[in-house]
Each structure stands twice: as structure tokens, then as C-alpha cells.
């Protein structure tokens, strides 16, 4: 029946149909089916499933995700002025249509019940809610009183016009103290890339590669730009399917998808790489001339036997990996956190890159990703050494004012650094954040920011291989709370305080941004008028500012043999693994992510300690037992999860839990492994050696069931998932005959 001739009887039918009736009257849309199949006579309201509810029509707005630094493009579905769902922006060169779980959960950090609704200032030691005006007055007064040259900014990864304004502000302050801090970073890798290839983030051609060897680079989970790599990984796996090999102390999401997964003794990844190089040179006649003599000499020392002795990786495995790399050329060798975060992290990363050179991957599967045309917009990627620098500066009184945003160092920086005490020496600390967290709790003024779905901004992803784009961060809905302000606006206001008159013209960040985009080169605007260009950009959610061009210049650098000593008191090594979900802990206050089980262990709402069965046997612990993990800096307690995805000498505890002050969903849940890290930094870059802490474990006698999903670790003989060999796959679906 059609809607425009509703007689009384039909009308009553509609009313009987509940959802349909209501929806129809509210004129959303006409139902395609009024009653069930032969329901010409009948009204079958109780049997009207969801499908007979008439969906409203949502409006999709493009924006950019701020949940993690890789800044994917998103579309937000808006109805009645509320954003309900986010999906990947197909236009985006970063993520295509896809998104990770953290991006989806952005909704819950936006609507989070624990968001700060009003500014807080410290009155007599306690933080008390005040109006924005009042709080801002305090900031102005303090800034006037302090030496602007001693103003420091600690931020997470920043890019786009926020970065531009921040630079301008620091310039006006006459200060260079900008600490870009990310607990989960690739900064060792970046510096090695810079040194050896001349580019911090080159482009990895998964589509071309036939094999990938990853030393702890969890590119499907937490490494650089997970969603982008997942997309590439899909290509890598289809057609002429590539081989993925992973070497890491604890199985990450990437490791779980590997064809061949093997753990090396923590820190010895570099040695393994050299061992592989050795096999390549001796067995596979790789072109040795690519490497300087010193390196060749070092490689020759690491024959298979030596490597096995040092790394604990069986000789057959070394050969197997080498064969795969050779037989499935071209290949990519990459390294990540668990290889980098050691005192010899730089060595490990370099050794991995040496393999790339030796395999002739550079230029083939590792290409230049070019640079942002406007360098000022480029992404400032974070490092953990930044936190050390901050601590040092604060300690020696080089900071009078400190602004902190997008980072929670008090939670993520190891306690041996003593950041809390050192920050206490900074007279005036301002937190720009949406949530009360451990760091904000220490500051004197907390300015609540708009959520990323309410704020304006632009971003330039650190890793954008194909083309350089500026991602538009556009509000998906009106701000929920009046007393909150956008990051850009705050920066502008601060600039105005500093009397940087060229910014006085802008009433707010929006107008600044608009103006900034207008002033982009005509080539970028593709001849559109300013207004059209603006709307076009908002519609697309991104602005293409030129293709990735440039080339890599290969430089090999000297390697010095590392030395590894055992520690009798602390026989094991702690692996504070990053889990895609809670990230470094900033997303721990999102119920969806807490309830979504960890990909590997399937544990939710908690922390745990992963042990290898042999280790568990040695210590006589079984699944669910609570063990104490003790380093020279302190100890934590967690329940044991036992599986064969972790090195026997390693106890892996995921980071992200153990918050003391981070809202109802995160507080007092699990433990924070970063707290017990012992001193140690990478010799070259000064990055915190987070994966190098030696620990010992002991039983506490406590035990209870793990909070985990799933009743069985295996399929118990049912054919739920069966595995076919890659050869079969290549035969049936490889090459031409793709499904």
C-alpha cells in the first residue's frame, strides 16, 4: 500500500504496527512492507521485527580521527544533531574505508560521562571547578608574571595548523621547549631511517613485497599506521600471497597472523638480523659489496651457531627465515618497539635495515614517501626521550610554565624518572585535556578541551605514502558543554596574550583555519573559488597537497657488536606490550574497548601476565594464578595467562591499565607495567629502553578465574577454522584467477 491514501482502517493498522506507525506519521519514509507476507487482512504487530522499523536518514560528515597519532579519515553519521557512528573515509589515503576498534570507540570518548565539563583551578591545594573566564584570568595573570622564555609545551603528536600555531606561540615566547611525547612511538626507527635512507618514514610497498620479516614491528596493531598497513597487508596476502615472518618476545597481533613466528632473546634481534645476513652472504651469494668492510666483518662473526647461542633462535629457524626472504623476493625487513626499546635498540634497527640493503629492498619495496610541501604543517612525531628531556629541564628549573596536552606522562613515564617530583618544581602547570587523568591531577589549571568530534583542526598524518594530504578535522556536532574550548582557540588566545598582532585579526580558530586554507597555493585549490574549495575540503575531509615524490639515498653506518649480560637476581625480562585497543592507556576509559577482549589472550577489563608453559611449569603456576613481577624499581601483581606465544625468559604485561585517576571505567583496573621499568635508554637516541627491564616472578598464592572470553583454546577437533597451505592458495586464487 502507498502512504498517501491512508484511510482510517489503514491508519489503525499503522498504529497497530507500532514502530512503523510512529515513523510513518513522523513522515520519515514510507514503509516498503506494511504487514507480513499475506498480511493484507491482518495487523501482526507483535511479529514486526526490527526490520519493520523505519530508519531515519542520517547525514554523514567527514572528519579526522584523533584516537591515535596515525590520524585516519572518518565519516560521522549525524542524526538530530548527534553523532551516532563513525566509519572510515574511503577518500582517505591513510585508511581507505576501514577503521580500527579505537576509532569506532571515539564516540565513547566524545560522549564519555567522565569528560570535564568546566575548568578547574587549584585553590588551596585542591582543584575546584570555576568558569572559563575565571580560569583564563588565572592563566593570563600567571603568564604575565612568568618568564615567557621558560614556557614549555608537552604535547602528543601534533601536525597541521595546530602545529603551526604552536610553533608561532613558542616563537613569540622565545622558547624552544616543545616536548612531543608518545609512549608508543617509532622514533628509533625514524632516526635510523633518517641516517641510512635520508627519510624518517619511507614508504613500505606491501603490495610489491613477497615476504616480510618484522622484528617486533606490530604494523597490524600499534606500529606507525595500523589501519593503513592492514589495508596493505590484505593486498600482500591476496593474489601471489606473501610470507610474513615475525620475531618478537611476545606475540602481537601481527605475530598472530604470521606464517612463521619465533621469539628471540629480548634485545638480540639485531644479532639475529646479522646472522641472517651472514647466511645470505655465505649461502645465497648476496652482494657483499653493498656493505662497508667493518659491517661485513661483524656479520662474518655471527655464524649460525653463534647466533643461536646469543639469540636462542634455532639454527633451522634462522635458515628457514633466510630461505623465505630469498625465495620470496622482494622482501621487507622492519623493526619495532620490542627491538628498539633496548640499550642497543639503535643497533637492532640498523641491523634490520642492513638486511634490507643486503636484500636490495631499498628502492624496490622501500621507497621515498616524499615530504609535505609545506613543512610547517608536517607531523611532529613523538618520542619517549622527550619525557626525559622534560624531566631534566623541570629538574634544573628551566621551566616556569608548562602546558600539557594530548599526553599523560605521569602515567606512562617510568617511576624511576621521578617525573612527579620534578614536575612539582615547575611553578605553573596548565593541562589542556578533556579528561581528568594522572597528569592533569598535578596541574594548577585544567582547561577542558572540546572533544575531537566538536573541534576544528587540520592534521598531516606522519605516514602518508601515496599522496600528501591535509586531513580536515571538522566538528561532527555542537559542543556538549559550554565551558569547553577548542585547542586551536586556546592557542590563538595565548598568542593574543603574547601580543602576536598578526593573529589579532582572527576572532576564533575557525576563521583562522578558513583563512589558512584560502591561502593555500592555487595548484592545491584546483582553481576553485575560496568558498567552493572550503566546502569541497569539508565534504571530502581532506585536501590533496601533492603526490609523494623524492628518492632514498642509501648510507650504511658502522655497527659495533653489542654485549649481553645475564642477571642472576632478575632472570627474566619484562615486555610491556602495547595492545591495540587501550593504546598507551589514553583509551582505557572507554567501556567498548575495555569490554572488547584482547586480540591474543581474549582477556577483558583487566591486566594479565603472559608466561610460556615451560616457564609456568618451572615456577609451578597455572592459569589464573596471581604472580608478582618484581624489578629493582618495584613490583606489580597480575594473573597469569599461559600460552606458547611468548619467549620462555619473558613475562609480558600489557600497558594501558592501572590508572589511578582516569574516570569510572579505567580507575583501579589492572596494573601499569611501565611503573616498574628500570633505568636504561638507547645509547644513541636516548629513547627509554622499555623492553629491557629485568624482573623476577614469584607466586602470591592468590588465584582466580581469568576474566576472559571463550571456553576453549583450541577447536577440539571441530572444523571451524581449517588451514590450507599457501601453495594451494596460490594455485587456486593466486595470479590471474583471483576470486
Amino acid at each position: 500500500m502507498s502512504g498517501n491514501d491512508i484511510n482510517r482502517r489503514d491508519f489503525l493498522k499503522f498504529m497497530g504496527l507500532g514502530g512503523v506507525g510512529a515513523a510513518t506519521l513522523s513522515g520519515c519514509d514510507m514503509p516498503t512492507t506494511v504487514t507480513l507476507e499475506e498480511g493484507k487482512e491482518k495487523v501482526v504487530s507483535y511479529l514486526a521485527p526490527e526490520e519493520y522499523v523505519i530508519p531515519g536518514i542520517g547525514v554523514w560528515y567527514a572528519s579526522t580521527c584523533q584516537q591515535c597519532p596515525s590520524s585516519c579519515g572518518i565519516h560521522g553519521r549525524v542524526r538530530e544533531g548527534r553523532v551516532l557512528k563513525v566509519e572510515g573515509n574511503p577518500e582517505s589515503s591513510v585508511n581507505g574505508g576501514g577503521l580500527c576498534q579505537m576509532a569506532h570507540a571515539g564516540l565513547q570518548s566524545h560522549y564519555n560521562p567522565d569528560r570535564l565539563r568546566k575548568p578547574l583551578i587549584r585553590k588551596g591545594g585542591t582543584l575546584t571547578e570555576v568558569s572559563w573566564k575565571e580560569a583564563w584570568a588565572v592563566v593570563e595573570e600567571k603568564l604575565a608574571a612568568s618568564d615567557s622564555a621558560k614556557t614549555g609545551w608537552m604535547t602528543g603528536t601534533v601536525s597541521g595548523h595546530q602545529a603551526v600555531l604552536l610553533d608561532a606561540l613558542q616563537e613569540a615566547n622565545g622558547s624552544n621547549k616543545h616536548y612531543v611525547y608518545e609512549a608508543i612511538n617509532n622514533s628509533v626507527g625514524e632516526s635510523v631511517n633518517k641516517a641510512m635512507l635520508g627519510e624518517a618514514t619511507p614508504r613500505y610497498r606491501f603490495d610489491k613485497a613477497q615476504s616480510i620479516l618484522s622484528f617486533g614491528a606490530d604494523f597490524l596493531g600499534t606500529w606507525v599506521s595500523p589501519v593503513h598497513f592492514s589495508k596493505e597487508y590484505a593486498e600482500f596476502r591476496t593474489g601471489d600471497r606473501g610470507v610474513l615472518m615475525v620475531v618478537e618476545p611476545k606475540m602481537t597481533l601481527t605475530g598472530a597472523n604470521a606464517d612463521f613466528w619465533v621469539p628471540a632473546k629480548p634485545g638480540t634481534e639485531g644479532v639475529l638480523a646479522l646472522g641472517i645476513a651472514n647466511v645470505l652472504l655465505t649461502k645465497h651469494q648476496a652482494d657483499a659489496k653493498l656493505l662497508p668492510a667493518s659491517v661485513r666483518k661483524l656479520i662474518s662473526e655471527y655464524n649460525v651457531a653463534k647466533v643461536t647461542e646469543v639469540t636462542g633462535v634455532g639454527g633451522d629457524s634462522v635458515v628457514k627465515i633466510t630461505n623465505h626472504l630469498k625465495n620470496h623476493a622482494p622482501s621487507i625487513v622492519m623493526s619495532g618497539a620490542s627491538a628498539h626499546e633496548h640499550e642497543n635498540g639503535y643497533f637492532n634497527a640498523t641491523a634490520a635495515m642492513v638486511l634490507n640493503i643486503l636484500l636490495g629492498n631499498v628502492g624496490k619495496t622501500i621507497e621515498s614517501s616524499g615530504a609535505m610541501p609545506d613543512v610547517k604543517l608536517a607531523s611532529k612525531t613523538g618520542s619517549s626521550s622527550a619525557a626525559m628531556r622534560l624531566a631534566a629541564d623541570a629538574d634544573k628549573g628551566a621551566l616556569e610554565t608548562l602546558f600539557i596536552t594530548g599526553a599523560n606522562p605521569v602515567f606512562t613515564v617510568p617511576s624511576y624518572v621521578g617525573l612527579v617530583d620534578k614536575l612539582a618544581k615547575v611553578p605553573f602547570k596548565v593541562s589542556l585535556t578533556s579528561f581528568m587523568d594522572e597528569t592533569a591531577a598535578l596541574s594548577d589549571v585544567i582547561l577542558p578541551l572540546l572533544s575531537s568530534y566538536e573541534d576544528w583542526g587540520t592534521t598531516a598524518a606522519a605516514y602518508q605514502p601515496t599522496e600528501k594530504v591535509i586531513g580536515i578535522q571538522q566538528p561532527l556536532m555542537q559542543p556538549l558543554y559550554a565551558e569547553t574550548k577548542g585547542f586551536g582557540d586556546v592557542l590563538l588566545d595565548l598568542l593574543k596574550i603574547q601580543g602576536a598582532e598578526q593573529y589579532g585579526a582572527y576572532t576564533d580558530y575557525y576563521s583562522y583555519l578558513q583563512n589558512a586554507l584560502y591561502s593555500l597555493p592555487a595548484s592545491v585549490k584546483q582553481g576553485l573559488s575560496d568558498a567552493d574549495f572550503w566546502h569541497d575540503s569539508l565534504k571530502k575531509g581532506l585536501i590533496k597537497v601533492g603526490d609523494a615524490k623524492g628518492s632514498l639515498s642509501v648510507k650504511t653506518i658502522d655497527l659495533t657488536a653489542p654485549s649481553f649480560e645475564d642477571n642472576a637476581d632478575f632472570p627474566m625480562v619484562l615486555a610491556p606490550s602495547a595492545r591495540q585497543g587501550l593504546w598507551d592507556g589514553r583509551l582505557a576509559n572507554i567501556p567498548w574497548l575495555q569490554e572488547a577482549p584482547d586480540q591474543i589472550t581474549k582477556i577483558f577489563w583487566d591486566s594479565w601476565a603472559e608466561l610460556h608453559p615451560s616457564t609456568a611449569k618451572k615456577f609451578g603456576v597455572k592459569e589464573g594464578d596471581v604472580i608478582q613481577v618484581e624489578s629493582d624499581q618495584g613490583s606489580i601483581e597480575a594473573q597469569v595467562y599461559i600460552y606458547k606465544g611468548v619467549h620462555p625468559d619473558v613475562v609480558a604485561v600489557p600497558m594501558g591499565q592501572g590508572h589511578e585517576n582516569y574516570g569510572r571505567y579505567a580507575t583501579n583496573l589492572g596494573v601499569n607495567p611501565l611503573k616498574i621499568l628500570s633505568p636504561g635508554t638507547d645509547k644513541v637516541t636516548g629513547e627509554i629502553a622499555a623492553h629491557a627491564t629485568r624482573v623476577r616472578i614469584s607466586k602470591t598464592g592468590k588465584s582466580s578465574d581469568l576474566a576472559r572470553l571463550g571456553g576453549s583454546e583450541t577447536q577440539v577437533g571441530r572444523k571451524l577454522v581449517s588451514t590450507v597451505s599457501a601453495d594451494v592458495f596460490r594455485r587456486t586464487e593466486g595470479g590471474g584467477n583471483v576470486a
Binding site: 507480513l36 507476507e37 499475506e38 498480511g39 491482518k42 501482526v44 511479529l47
Partner: protein
């Protein structure tokens, strides 16, 4: 001519039995055994040997009730299902025989039982006023033999009862 109800109470079944046998043997002219009603505390199937088989309609009620229940039951379900096509298919037919047979079976028994009970209530004249000559002794341990007869025969029957050590004789004018 007036008609009388007369009832003799006997202390045991044998006496009553003898009395009825005599009546059947026409010891009393003009009194037929068909006028006799036996009232007893327990069931006496053997009495039918003398009273003659008086039959009972109850089984018929049971049979017809059952048949009705089965057929009506099945079609009740079937027609219900046939107008309710939306109901879960689960790969099964709209009118699935297995379940309908099971349910029809239950209906068969339900209606069988109900109509039997109704039949009983009707045939046994339940829910009617008790006879004026009803004696509580009957529900205890005595046997009552009751006749409906003409005035002239009353005394003859009384004599007959007395022959059989009747404990008590009651009479009542039939209205």
C-alpha cells in the same frame, strides 16, 4: 390408583440379592424386576445377573469425544498455521505433520476424557436431587432394595422383605 416407593434395608448383600431374585421370579405378582433399584455402599457387578444388563452410554461418549478431539484439533492447528505464514519456518513446512500429530493426539485424549465425564454425569443422573427414600446407612454398610409399585402390592413386597430379615422398611407416596 396411588403409587408407592418402598425400600427395604438389608444388613448384607446376600439377603438383598435373594429378595431381588424372588422378585424376578415373580414371587410377587405384578411386580417386575425392572422396577427394582438397588442401593449399595459398594459396586456389585454380580447384581446384573438378576437385574439384567441395563447398559451404559458412557463408552460411546468417550469414543465420539475422542474422534472429535482428534479431527477438530488437527484442523484447528492447521488452519491457525495456514493464516500465520510468517511463523518460524526453520526449514519446516507451514503445516508440519509431526508436531500437529502430537498435538492432535493430546486433543484426542482431552476431549475423550471430557466427553466421557459429561456422559457419566448425564447417564448417572448426577447433580439431581437425592431420592426421598435415600438412607445414610446405604453409604455405610447396608443394602437398599427400592421398588416403585401400586398400592395393592405394597404389603406383598413388605412380606417378601420380611422373609429375608429386612432390617427396616421405608415407604413413600410417589408424587
Amino acid at each position: 390408583m396411588k403409587r408407592y416407593y418402598i425400600m427395604g434395608l438389608f444388613s448384607n448383600f446376600e439377603e438383598a440379592f435373594a429378595a431381588i431374585s424372588d422378585i424376578r421370579d415373580h414371587k410377587v405378582p405384578g411386580v417386575s424386576v425392572d422396577d427394582v433399584t438397588l442401593k449399595s455402599p459398594i459396586e456389585h457387578p454380580e447384581i446384573e445377573e438378576v437385574l439384567g444388563d441395563r447398559g451404559s452410554p458412557v463408552p460411546k461418549f468417550g469414543l465420539y469425544g475422542a474422534i472429535f478431539g482428534m479431527i477438530a484439533g488437527f484442523f484447528f492447528l492447521a488452519s491457525g498455521q495456514a493464516t500465520f505464514l510468517v511463523q518460524p519456518s526453520g526449514g519446516k513446512a507451514v503445516i508440519p505433520l509431526p508436531s500437529n500429530i502430537v498435538l492432535a493426539y493430546e486433543m484426542l485424549i482431552l476431549f475423550g476424557v471430557l466427553s466421557t465425564v459429561i456422559g457419566f454425569a448425564i447417564a448417572a443422573r448426577l447433580m439431581t436431587r437425592r431420592h426421598p427414600l435415600y438412607s445414610e446407612k446405604v453409604s455405610l454398610d447396608q443394602i437398599g432394595v427400592m421398588l416403585e409399585l401400586d398400592e395393592k402390592n405394597v404389603n406383598l413386597v413388605k412380606d417378601l422383605f420380611k422373609q429375608h430379615q429386612v432390617l427396616e422398611i421405608r415407604e413413600e407416596v410417589a408424587s
